[in-house]
Structure formats: structure tokens, C-alpha cells
Symmetry: C2
Subunit: 208 residues, 2 copies
């Protein structure tokens, strides 16, 4: 299998959702070859408008959720999703609740590791999408990170119940949120979580 | 089976979590007898400090989540929870994210339907817990309800994917949130949701 992922400086991979697919492949013991792609080269692939893209034989798939659901169907051993619809709720919660405030905390940090060839595209598209300048987007983040951390309280409550969101072993719920933090931690130049946050210990337990 | 529920005026039942248990019993086709109890009579039962309480033969159980997990284990037909830990996350999200802002929208409305014998207890305990007077707790709720509705965006996104949070049929995820709204709608004297909110149609689909 071939997985197209988002390239950046220092060998960083910039797609939270590609990390979810890699966690799912790893969970299932499936081998893959990774091809890093620049933002501005995705459209040249002519495969799918966004990263990740998975090619499995004659199948080309986009959207991490659909890719993981496909993997569970095609390779049913060691399922990643217990329930597709419950996994969809979790993805909706994770992306819809966390990604926007997280991006507001680290957008300039991301810009600083974007490939040189992508910098103009990234700056223009993100300043338009977030309606804010990269020079000021991170202003006040030491205050704003407190509200971001509070959004994760349902996760902390769950980690008191079981070591993983999926129970005694990680599953889609874990990999979904893990992908978000794999992305955040790779770029953030400040502490997204406090050092004694149980989510940090969980992140390390999940890590591939 | 006997279920102890929280009594109020107009035959209203005031416990969102007891509604979850009733939905689970109904889902499984199990019969039960309901015994309504006043807030100030719960401790006299000497069974469990909070409602709901389920008595099944010689078993006495408290905490809706534990009761529903017990029902799934004892009566495994028509399971309510697909995954206990994923259900726990959803409960943590639902209670932890929605109940406090929802209570701030309708606390005086609840007070107005509390049994006469419970009114002094309710006023004192809730004013202390929320650190606010019942006379002012609902001030500005027409503005605040907008933020409350936005908290439900992950649910709306999921209802675009499938008719229920549980997929093609309701399960714990649905019953959990349904209990919250069964409680909210029973007491609210204003619109918690907009008339065209897909969550309203979902609520009616789930309703027993």
C-alpha cells in the first residue's frame, strides 16, 4: 500500500488525519510505503484533493475516515472501529471541537516548518481561511490554551475509567485524537498540555 | 424490576439519567415498575444517594451508566452499549459539556416544577452548587442558548451521516443525549433548540 502524506521541514508530517491512517495500518499490522507530498503538489497527483490518500492495489482512497473504514472491511482482522457511527461522532467531536482552536494556537508554528515551496500558498490560504494574519494569530495563546485544555475534560474523565478511550486497548477513538496531538506536538513551540496532564501519558502509551 | 425516579409536579420526571435507564429497559423489551421519589425522600430509601436506583430481584443498583452496563450483561439480548468505554466517553462528553450550561438556562424553570416539599432543599442546594440566585440564573438566556446550541455541532454532523448516533438504529449514544433533552424539554419555558434543528427531529425519532 502507498500512503501519500503531507511533507514539511525536519521530516515533519503535517496531516493529523494521515497520522490516524498510519495508526490504523500499524494497529492491523499492515505494511505501507509513505510518499511525502508538498501542499502545492497534491493537485498534481490527480488522485484526491486532500491528504491522506491511500492506494491499495487498484483502489485509490481519500478521507482518513473512509480509508480506515475501508481497511476494516477489506482486512477485518484487528478492527480499528468498534462502531462506524460512534467513531464518526468521535471524529466530529475531535475535528469540530479541537482543530480550530488548536490551529489558532499554532498556525504560525506550522508556517515555520512548511516547505519553502509551500510557504506563499500556506500563508495566503490560511490567512484567508482564519481571517487573521499569521503575525498575530498566536497572540495571547498562553491564555487561550487554558480554554483549549478544558475542551479535553471528557477525555480526562474517560482516562480515569480505562487506560484508553477504546478501553483496555487503543482503537479508533484513541487514534483519532492521537493524530490531532501528533500534529500539534510536532509543530507547537509551547506546551499544549500541562506536564502532569493524564492525556500526555495516554499520548505516549498510544504512540507507535 | 423497580426503578426509582425523581418526582415533580405535573407528573414530570426530573432525572435525565433515569430517562436513559428507561430508554435502555424499553430498548431491551424489559418491563419495570416506576416509583417516583421526592428529592428529600431519596436518603430515606437507604439504597443509593442518587436517582435513578434500579432493583432487580436481590440486586440494588445506582448510577445510570452502571445500571445500563448491568442490564447489557444480565440481559445480553438487544445490547444498548456497543462498547462500554466508548459509551463512557459519550456520557462524559454529554454530561461534562452540556449539563452545566443547560442547567444555567433552565434552573428556575426546574424550580417551578419541583414538588412543594422539595422547594426549600432545591433552592438552597442549587444556589450553593451554582453559586447564583435562582432569581437571576436565567438572565440573558436568549443569548446564552446560542452557545449551548453550538456545543451540539458534533451531533448535527453525525446526524448527517446516519439517522441515529448509533447508526441505523438508536443505542446508548442516542439514549444518553435523549435523556438530557427529555429533561430539558420537560421543564424549559423557552426554545432550547431552533424549530428546524435536525436534533429536534432526531429527538422525536428516538422518543419512546
Amino acid at each position: 500500500m502507498i500512503l501519500y502524506d503531507l511533507d514539511a521541514k525536519n521530516n515533519i508530517r503535517l496531516s493529523p488525519t494521515a497520522w490516524r491512517v498510519k495508526a490504523a495500518l500499524h494497529h492491523k499490522g499492515l505494511a505501507w510505503e509513505e510518499i511525502p507530498v508538498a501542499f502545492t503538489d497534491i493537485s498534481k497527483l490527480n488522485m484526491h484533493p486532500t491528504i491522506p490518500i491511500l492506494v491499495d492495489g487498484d483502489k485509490t482512497l481519500g478521507e482518513s475516515f473512509d480509508i480506515i473504514a475501508y481497511l476494516d472491511e477489506k482486512y477485518p482482522d484487528k478492527r480499528v472501529m468498534t462502531s462506524i457511527s460512534e467513531s464518526k461522532f468521535f471524529e466530529n467531536w475531535c475535528n469540530g471541537t479541537l482543530h480550530m482552536p488548536l490551529a489558532h494556537l499554532v498556525l504560525k508554528d506550522i508556517y515555520d516548518v512548511v516547505l519553502d515551496k509551500d510557504r506563499a500558498y500556506f500563508k495566503e490560504s490560511r490567512e484567508k481561511r482564519f481571517n487573521i494574519s499569521l503575525d498575530t494569530v498566536q497572540n495571547g495563546r498562553e491564555e487561550r490554551v487554558i480554554a483549549f485544555r478544558a475542551l479535553l475534560n471528557p477525555v480526562r474523565a474517560s482516562l480515569k475509567f480505562k487506560p484508553y478511550l477504546g478501553g483496555d486497548a487503543p482503537n479508533f477513538f484513541d487514534y483519532c485524537l492521537w493524530g490531532t496531538f501528533k500534529w500539534g506536538f510536532a509543530v507547537a513551540t509551547f506546551d499544549l498540555l500541562e506536564k502532569d496532564d493524564p492525556i500526555l501519558a495516554w499520548f505516549n502509551r498510544v504512540s507507535l
